[in-house]
């Protein structure tokens, strides 16, 4: 392509790009004028005057909107991190089963992956919430001296209470993501050459030991990037909490928009919250990746 043509093309693209942004800003200004609210964040410090079902830190309806949003962020963080751990454990086990020697386990894990990946997450969350937890009776079964109780209120375990909303979300997100993680793990394991399996087998090392000591460390560089993107998806999917009534950042934002009409400010807050959460995940994974690469002195 000639240089003239290139410059012309780039000018054209910039024109379209800035034109679109201009239209958006124009729309925004018109709407802000129409609502008469103006653009500011001072309302954040007014009392929220709505109750929350779940709060890891003390919260009452007289606390500010800002505090309510922070509680929402903590709720999101709580469900994201616990699902992340559960999904990884589950996904790894299923990934192992999928590549293992046992043909029954291989079949079961393949079925699990197929069913979970081919149905919508929203449907699965609804299933765990309405069928899994709300389907239970008040005092469903086992109540062993107040140590462990499972009911339609959730699970109580030696003083700790987990609401059925939290649990439905935790289960739904973990199981959904685990199917994808299993495939990532499988891909990583298959990336290690067959010769490595033969080498550890011929040394008399048992399958499981060989998998963990020989195959997995070599599979990790292929696993980590895929795992990171699954974690990011999980964090974003956690906004489906609103479907089961779990007070995550998105649900609380939604309530605030309804109360105050501050849609623009709220969406900016939401964007920043998720940016922060996902930057946290990406950077942690980056550090883990570097540690792994550093720990091996071979190319």
């Amino acid at each position: 392509m000639k240089i003239n043509q290139k410059i012309f093309l780039q000018l054209g693209i910039s024109f379209i790009f800035f034109g679109l942004i201009g239209i958006l800003i124009n729309n925004l200004t018109i709407n802000l004028i129409r609502t008469g609210l103006g653009f500011n964040f001072s309302w954040l410090f007014k009392p929220a005057s709505f109750a929350l079902a779940e709060y890891p830190l003390p919260y009452t309806s007289s606390d500010s909107y800002a505090w309510a949003l922070f509680i929402g962020w903590l709720n999101s963080l709580k469900v994201v991190i616990s699902s992340l751990i559960l999904a990884t454990l589950l996904g790894t086990l299923i990934g192992f089963a999928r590549t293992g020697k046992n043909s029954l386990l291989r079949l079961i894990s393949a079925g699990y992956i197929t069913i979970i990946r081919q149905t919508p997450l929203l449907l699965q969350l609804m299933f765990w919430y309405f069928v899994g937890f709300l389907g239970l009776k008040d005092n469903m079964f086992i109540q062993i001296k107040n140590i462990f109780n499972i009911s339609n209120q959730g699970i109580e375990f030696s003083g700790l209470t987990f609401s059925s909303e939290f649990l439905a979300l935790l289960l739904g997100l973990s199981i959904f993501t685990s199917a994808y993680i299993a495939e990532v793990i499988r891909g990583g394991i298959l990336s290690v050459s067959q010769g490595q399996w033969e080498a550890f087998r011929s040394l008399g090392l048992a399958e499981r030991k060989g998998l963990i000591r020989i195959i997995l460390p070599q599979a990790l560089p292929a696993i980590i990037p895929g795992l990171t993107s699954q974690y990011l998806n999980l964090a974003k999917n956690s906004t489906l909490a609103i479907a089961v009534g779990y007070s995550d950042i998105y649900a609380i934002n939604d309530t605030i928009i309804n109360q105050t009409g501050r849609a623009i400010e709220c969406f900016i807050i939401l964007l920043v919250s998720f940016l922060l959460l996902n930057l946290l995940i990406t950077n942690t994974m980056e550090i883990i990746n570097k540690l792994i690469l550093k720990s091996r002195k071979y190319s």
Binding site: G195, A199, L205, Y298
Partner: protein, 248 residues
């Protein structure tokens, strides 16, 4: 004394009716070296890989160090065999994420449950024997092919095996690196190690082997002492193969 390897009528077919092994029978006595030769695809690799259970077979019987295996491929028995039989591969198959010494101590520590210090001491002794003890702390990718293959031999020796299997150990090496590996194997043979070696190295076969087994299309064509095989092979097919090796 009982033989180390006895194979009786080993047969393995692939789905298309192709036979990788066709009624293969052989015996290897204690302290002997059997060299297996044959054109590519003749089943020689498949054959020695059945000896430590890396390959299954459909018919026949195998007796390795007194442990009998048949087509059912009993995992327990195979595990027992693997603890007493070492194997060296064409592509070395060292563990790239472990140092040279860790490659060698892995099996003694995790299979034989020996103490780390003891395993390392014996590992260093083996590396010294192979002439590569200065590389102990390095990683496989930092070594030449010949050095890597000698590490692989040391790794196979770490379990103090009673039988060593070599699957084309010099085929992936640069020509000037072949001899250092063959020399190491010669030393082992002189020390009385029982070995089964798949190789195209005529010089090694002539000097070191007690028997040469020639295979084609999964069948044993002939088994002869090297002096007879290389000067006056009994079978027309063997002579043709040797001629081709010469011109090549």
């Amino acid at each position: 004394m009982d033989p180390i390897v006895v194979a009786k009528n080993l047969t393995k077919s692939y789905t298309k009716g192709l036979r990788a092994l066709d009624n293969v029978s052989l015996t290897v006595d204690q302290g002997k070296v059997l060299v297996v030769m044959g054109p590519s695809g003749s089943g020689k690799s498949t054959l020695i890989r059945t000896f430590n259970g890396l390959e299954t077979f459909d018919k026949g019987e195998l007796n390795i160090l007194g442990i009998k295996v048949d087509s059912t491929h009993d995992e327990r028995k195979i595990q027992k065999i693997r603890r007493r039989v070492g194997m060296v591969f064409q592509q070395f198959n060292l563990f790239p994420h472990l140092s040279i010494l860790e490659n060698i101590t892995l099996a003694p520590v995790h299979v034989q449950k020996r103490r780390q210090i003891e395993a390392e001491k014996y590992g260093m002794y083996l590396l010294n024997q192979m002439g590569i003890d200065s590389h102990a702390k390095k990683y496989p990718s930092q070594l030449s092919g010949g050095e890597q293959q000698r590490v692989a031999i040391a790794r196979a020796l770490a379990l103090k095996p009673e039988l060593l299997l070599f699957d084309e150990p010099t085929s992936a090496l640069d020509p000037e690196r072949i001899n250092e590996v063959l020399d190491a194997m010669r030393n082992l043979a002189e020390q009385g190690m029982t070995m089964v070696v798949v190789t195209h190295e005529i010089g090694f076969a002539k000097d070191v082997s007690d028997q040469v087994l020639f295979m084609d299309s999964g069948k044993v064509i002939e088994t002869s002492p090297p002096n007879i095989f290389f000067s006056n092979a009994r079978h027309e097919r063997s002579r043709k193969f040797l001629n081709q090796l010469d011109t090549y």
